[in-house]
C-alpha cells in the first residue's frame, strides 16, 4: 500500500492511462432461480480524459454499471479499478468519482452555493478553499447571479447546472452522468449537450455518460459502449459504431438500417435472389444503411432488380421502400432535387446498387 502510494505520487512508474477499468463484472439481483443478471461478465476500460458513453435501451444494465463504478452497488463478482486502484470494496464516499443524477438530487434545504460546496465541506477543506472553488464552479456553469437561491426556485436547466457544478467541485477523477438530460425539453437538451462537451474539454475530467438516446451518444462521445441484456455488445468510436456495427443489435439500435438474409460468398455476400454484392465482415445478415442504397434504371448493369412498393416523402429526402426478387424488402433514402420530384412511382421496376464499401455482413 505504501509502496503503491509512493509510486502514484511519482506518477512515473504507474502512469496509468486507464481512468476506469471493469474486469469480468457480474451483478445479479435477487437470489436462486429468480435472480436477474443485470450485468453479465462485463469487462471495459475507459481511458483518461475521454468522453465515454454507455448506450442502450432501458434495462440493458448501463445504469447498474454506472452505480457499480460509483459504489452505490457492489458487484456479485468481478473487480472495478479507478485510476489503477482496486475500489471494488470501497463505499461511495471513499471513491474519487462524483455523479450527476438523473433527478439531479439537489439538497432542498441548502442554497445553490451550499450545494456546490457540500463535497469540499464534507472533506473538511478550509473555508477559504471551499469558497474559492464554489465561486469558480459558479462561474464555470454561469450561475453566479443565482448563488444564494434555494434550488427549488430554479428552472430544470439551472438545476442541471447546479448538479454539474456540485459534482465537478471536488475535481473527481471521473464524472458519472446518469441520463442527465432526459428531463429537459428538446431545445434545452441540445444546449446542454454543447455545454457538457465544453465542460469536459475545459476540465479535462473523464466523463462516463449514460443514455438511451443514440443521437446524443453519436454527437457527444469520444467512444461509445453499446449495451444490451447486461452485456457489452461493442465498444468503439461513434463513426465505427455507425459504419461497422458488429452485430444485428448494434446496427439496429444505432440509426436506421436494412437487414437482408445473406451468406458468405467469394468477393462478398450472396443475397437470397442469388445476386452477389461486395461486403466486408462475416455472418448471415447483410446490413446496409438507407442512405447508401441507390435506385437506378432497371437495365443498368450489375444492379439487383427490384420493384418500388411505397414512397414516403420527408421534405429533404424520400424513403423508397423496395422489394427484391427473393421477396426481401429494403429502404433507400434519396436526396431530392430542388423540385422535390424523385421521378419514381409505385410498382416501377428498378435496379438497386449499394455504395461500394458500405454493405457489411454481420452476425445475427
Amino acid at each position: 500500500m505504501f509502496v503503491q502510494s509512493v509510486f502514484n505520487k511519482c506518477g512515473v512508474f504507474l502512469d496509468n492511462q486507464e481512468a476506469v477499468s471493469a474486469e469480468s463484472v457480474v451483478k445479479s439481483f435477487g437470489q436462486g432461480p429468480a435472480a436477474v443478471r443485470a450485468l453479465d461478465d462485463v469487462s471495459l476500460t475507459i481511458r483518461k480524459g475521454e468522453f465515454f458513453t454507455l448506450l442502450g435501451p432501458s434495462g440493458c444494465g448501463k445504469t447498474t454499471l454506472l452505480r457499480l463504478i460509483a459504489g452505490f452497488e457492489m458487484p456479485t463478482s468481478g473487480t472495478i479499478l479507478l485510476d489503477g486502484q482496486d475500489v471494488t470494496d470501497l463505499p461511495p464516499n471513499h471513491r474519487p468519482v462524483n455523479t450527476v443524477f438523473q433527478s439531479y438530487a439537489l439538497f432542498p434545504h441548502l442554497s445553490v452555493r451550499e450545494n456546490i460546496g457540500f463535497a469540499l465541506k464534507m472533506l473538511g477543506r478550509p473555508n477559504a478553499e471551499v469558497e474559492a472553488r464554489t465561486a469558480a464552479m459558479l462561474s464555470l456553469v454561469k450561475l453566479d447571479a443565482l448563488a444564494d437561491r434555494a434550488t427549488a426556485q430554479l428552472s430544470g436547466g439551472q438545476q442541471q447546472r447546479v448538479a454539474l457544478a456540485r459534482a465537478l467541485a471536488p475535481q473527481p477523477k471521473v464524472l458519472l452522468l446518469d441520463e442527465p438530460l432526459s428531463a429537459l425539453d428538446l431545445k434545452l437538451r441540445k444546449e446542454m449537450q454543447v455545454e457538457l462537451k465544453r465542460l469536459q474539454k475545459e476540465t479535462g475530467i473523464t466523463f462516463v455518460f449514460v443514455t438511451h438516446d443514440q443521437e446524443e451518444a453519436l454527437t457527444m462521445s469520444d467512444r461509445i459502449g453499446v449495451m444490451s441484456s447486461g452485456k457489452l455488445q461493442q465498444v468503439a468510436s461513434p463513426r465505427e459504431i455507425y459504419t461497422a456495427p458488429v452485430n444485428r443489435f448494434v446496427a439496429d439500435f444505432i440509426g436506421e438500417t436494412n437487414f437482408l438474409p445473406a451468406t458468405s460468398a467469394p468477393g462478398g455476400a450472396r443475397l437470397g435472389s442469388g445476386a452477389i454484392v461486395a461486403a466486408e465482415g462475416e455472418g448471415t445478415v447483410l446490413t446496409i444503411r438507407p442512405e447508401q442504397v441507390q435506385v437506378v434504371g432497371p437495365d443498368a448493369p450489375g444492379t439487383i432488380p427490384g420493384t418500388v412498393e411505397n414512397l414516403v416523402y420527408f421534405g429533404t429526402d424520400m424513403h423508397v421502400h423496395l422489394r427484391l426478387g427473393d421477396g426481401a424488402t429494403l429502404v433507400a433514402r434519396m436526396l431530392l432535387p430542388p423540385g422535390g420530384e424523385a421521378g419514381l412511382s409505385t410498382a416501377d421496376t428498378v435496379g438497386v446498387t449499394f455504395t461500394p464499401g458500405a454493405a457489411r455482413l454481420i452476425r445475427e
Binding site: 459504489g71 464516499n93 455523479t99 443524477f101 438530487a105 439538497f107 457540500f118 464534507m122 471536488p170
Partner: protein, 267 residues
Amino acid sequence: MAERSFSVARLPGFSTIALGVFVCLYLPIVTLVVYSFNGGPSIAVWQGVSLHWYSEAWGNQAVKDATIRSLIIALCASAIATTLATLAALGTTRRAGFKGQTVIYVMINQPLMVPEIVTAVALLIFFASIKVATGYQGLGYLIAAHSAFCIPFAYLPIRARLEGMDTVLETAAADLYATPWQTFRHVTLPLLAPGIAAGAMLAFVISLDDVVITEFVKSGGQDTLPTYMLGQLRRAITPEVNAISSVLLGLTVALLTVFFLLTKRRN
C-alpha cells in the same frame, strides 16, 4: 347535470347536518370556556363576567404542583418517545426490507391498538412489584409509562416524513464524500426536522392529556393536572375546573397549530 362531477355538498340536507355536527362538537367546549369566566360558584348558573376562577386556580398550590408535574412528565416522555421513535422510523425505512418487518411495525404501534385500560392495569401490577423490590416511588414510573404510549404518536409523523424523502439525496451525499454520520447530520436530520418536531409535539399533547394510565400508575401525591381535575369532580365542582380546562385547551390548540404549520411547510 351529467357533465358536472358528483358533489356531496349538493345532497339535500347537507348543510343542515354539517351545521348540526359542528354545534354538537363545539357547543360543550364553548360552554366550558364561557363558564370559566362566571362570577358565581356554579358551573350552570351565570352570575356575571369575572376572572375570579382563573386567579383562584392560579393561587391554588395543588393546581400549581399538578401543572408542574404534568409538564415535567410530558417534556421527559415526549423527549424519550421522540428519540426512540426517530430511531425506529430510521430502522424501518432506511434499510432493505427484512423478515418480520410487519410484526415490528405492529409492535411499535401496539399502544394504539391495545385498550388503554388493559395497559393501565398491566403497568399497575408490573410497577407495583418493582416498587416493592426497589422502594423507588418517584415520577420515573409515570415518565416510563407515558414514554411508552407516546412512541406511536411520535413514530407515525416521523415515518411519514422519511417515506416521503427520496433516498437518492442520501446516496448523493455519500457520493459527495459524506460519511454515514455526516450524511445523517447534514442531509437526513435537517430534512427530517419538521417531522421530528411534529412527532414531539403530538407526543407532548398526548402525554399532557392522559388520565387513565396516569390514574393507575401514579403513587400518592403524584396528581397530574388531568387526574387532579378528575379528583375535583368527585367533590364540589366549581368553575375553577373550567378555567384550568380552558388554559389547557388554549395550550393544546396552540401546539397543534404549530404542528400543522410544521407539517404543511415544504410539502
